[in-house]
Amino acid sequence: MTGLVYDFSVITQSIDHYLVSHWGPSLAATIEFVLVGILYLLIYALVGLMLVYAERRICAFIQCRLGPNRVGPQGIFQTIADFIKLLLKENIRIERADKLLFFVAPFIIIVGSFLAFGTIPFAKGLHALDPDIGLFFIMAATSIGVIGILLAGWSSNSKYSLIGAMRSGAQIVSYELSVGLAIVTMVILTGTLQLSEIIEMQRDGWFIFKGHIPAILSFVILLIAGTAETNRGPFDLAEAESELTAGFHTEYSGIKFAFFFLAEYMNMFVLASVATTLFLGGWMPLHLGNFETFNHVMDFIPPLVWFLVKVFTVIYIIMLFKWTYPRLRIDQLLSLEWKYLLPINLFNLILMSVIVLLGLHF
């Protein structure tokens, strides 16, 4: 009925058949790997650059400024110009740094966020990976990032970097817990970890409506804890510009700095996608009860558009956090997690369990 109009698995399967019939299964698989890899790298970089641009424009509007508006129409090529500038910049070798770890750290971070990016279901049949343990995989992949941050801070052999990395480590380890518990709360409702199946279950209503109170609570908790986990303001003590110059990536320059920057924004995108998939129905169109005509009109909008609109709404909220609130102190940060988010989360977990057991959800 719904969503069948836009099924991308038909397209991907026809490409697969075409490649298999021409080159045989093993070579076709290799070609597919390369194609998907290149495509995802391109999307990854482009979405990252676009997010940087969006952030700069949004924060400018919030602060009654115009923001970048000279390079191209409305300044849309500004971040691309910045990226080219970063590519051309010198990659400074730090004399006293641990060469190998210093070199590896940005790659670890970007691999972590890229792996998580691969599992995002953009539309029906439009995802690179769809493992049974999708949510768990995303959790695992994103937490690789903290190793990269700690390595970057430690190997730089600089006090700013080390303090930034230590703060970031404490922060991410604490907030990982809240993100995990918020997701576990939703997993009680869904009963599965596979992202495509989670979305399929929201065909007749998004989980934020189906799970009502505990779902809304865990949505808010996921947003707050996720913002902290991606090291974004107001939880950006790890790279607090005014205190630590740039935190763990103080010593990085050129393209390696760009990696950190890109990974930070893409982590935000992954977080927003997870929130969208879990709570806002992923690429499912908005359906209102029995308004048949309304539902049909909504069905005509492609799932990719639905997905992106939802994701960017969530990203806008996360950006609003950053440009509204002042940066937290480290003790405030930790007390927010351990004294507030965690107890609320545990309570919410029990509430959700009770609701699911008694069948009080829709």
């Binding site: 509007f61 602060q63 009654c64 400024r65 115009l66 508006n69 609003l320 509204t324 609130y325 507030y340």
Partner: protein, 158 residues
């Protein structure tokens, strides 16, 4: 902290956080509030503020008269030495000798726009102009003579 305070604190916090987000959200969705001006494009209708310190000028009235008596206080008070007052002696109608300015030289290249000359002038001869596009190709063009050619002192200024 009692349990009631704990719960109350959470709700109070959420309320104040939402309040803050409402403000920023309002600014995001109201482009009319943007104060940044697109400078080279709006050059024709650009209005500088009255208190803007563009450059030091000497206002003249329509009879080509200024208020500078040539006392030299501006020259003394200028911390950078960007003002030079060259005076001459003129003979007034009733045959008296009197000091008057020949040239009031102003080096824009050295001026920091501190405003001490304007503030200290006893006869309000100096003022700040609104012109701010000072870029020139030759440094000597930044040295200006503030009194106009053939200008005289206003009658009421003594």
């Amino acid at each position: 902290m009692t349990f009631k305070e704990y719960i109350g604190g959470i709700f109070q916090g959420i309320r104040s956080l939402l309040k803050g987000m409402r403000v920023t959200n309002h600014y995001f969705f109201s482009p009319g509030e943007i104060v940044t001006q697109k400078y080279p494009e709006n050059r024709a209708q650009l209005q500088m503020f009255e208190r803007f310190k563009g450059e030091v000028i000497m206002p003249h009235n329509e009879k080509n008269e200024h208020r500078c008596t040539g006392c030299g206080i501006c020259e003394i008070s200028c911390p950078n030495g960007s003002i030079e007052v060259i005076t001459k002696t003129i003979i007034t109608e009733d045959g008296k000798k009197k000091k008057a300015i020949d040239k009031h030289i102003y080096h824009l290249s050295m001026c920091t726009f501190c405003g001490l000359c304007v503030k200290n002038c006893p006869s309000n001869a100096l003022a700040f102009g609104q012109e701010f596009e000072h870029a020139v190709y030759d440094r000597s063009k930044l040295t200006k003579v503030l009194n106009k050619e053939g200008s005289t002192l206003m009658k009421e200024v003594e």
